[in-house]
């Protein structure tokens, strides 16, 4: 298992990240990329991390994914700092011999990253107003569903 976990300000190169997973030879590579979505005058998100803890929390989430699915590789990159509309926020990727393992692991990684990693989003609007994003109950439901699921499989 080859895991790459990173909390960083810089953008990441999706092509090279997925090429790394493809090269591991599992045959199936799934990914999910989250991008800042515009609307309602939003200009950017500001992502705040907990230096020291965020990386460790993502590593724990990745380790749990490795326990649940037969992965040959895994990628979890989360940016912090000010990210204008259209910028990438997060990339999760998983490589496996089994396509459903790869896809489910990605769903798990993003669900838990949203609810179990110390990261906070602030919306920055045209005109200068700001708003801290509230947690969404459906994200907690999605994350909790993995608790009650068996070793494998989507809840």
């Amino acid at each position: 298992m080859s895991a790459r976990i990173s909390v960083q300000e810089a953008d990441f190169d999706v092509a090279s990240e997925l090429a790394r997973l493809e090269a591991l030879g599992g045959g199936g590579v799934a990914s999910f990329t989250g991008v800042v979505r515009g609307g309602d005058g939003l200009e950017a998100l500001r992502l705040e991390a907990y230096p020291g803890m965020t990386q460790a929390a993502l590593e724990e989430i990745a380790a749990e994914a490795q326990r649940r699915w037969p992965l040959v590789g895994l990628t979890l990159i989360h940016r912090h700092g000010t990210l204008p509309v259209g910028e990438r926020i997060v990339l999760v990727g998983a490589a496996s011999r089994h396509r459903m393992a790869a896809l489910e692991a990605c769903a798990f990684l993003i669900d838990w990253t949203k609810t179990r990693a110390p990261l906070w989003k602030q919306e920055l609007f045209a005109g200068g107003s700001t708003r801290w994003v509230e947690p969404r109950p459906e994200d907690d439901v999605a994350a909790a569903a993995w608790d009650s699921s068996a070793e494998h499989g989507r809840p």
């Binding site: 907990y50 989360h78 993003i110 990253t113 949203k114 609810t115 509230e134 947690p135 994200d139």
Partner: protein, 85 residues
């Protein structure tokens, strides 16, 4: 005992600083007690910490609950529910 406190997101904004090192009296023995003790300072502290149910915390960089004991802790972080991803 000296402990390093960290504040994130709107907790940080309301308190007006991202952290501080303080000497805690021994009776402040849980995260909940710490929150009450800090809120009693008034001002931004009172504002940020008025509703403990809206707060989350980590003790020595592990997620914890308000009931978690803090004796011996070196770093305690107070923050809102996380919203990354």
């Amino acid at each position: 005992m000296a402990v390093h406190l960290l504040y994130f997101a709107w907790v940080r904004e309301a308190i007006g600083r991202d952290g501080e090192t303080i000497d805690l009296p021994g009776k402040v023995d849980t995260v909940a007690a710490l929150v009450r003790w800090l809120a009693a300072r008034g001002g931004g502290y009172a504002e940020a910490l008025a509703e403990p149910a809206r707060l989350r915390c980590a003790v020595d960089q592990s997620f914890a609950s308000l009931a978690t004991p803090i004796a011996g802790a070196r770093e305690i972080a107070l923050f809102p529910p996380v919203t990354g991803g």
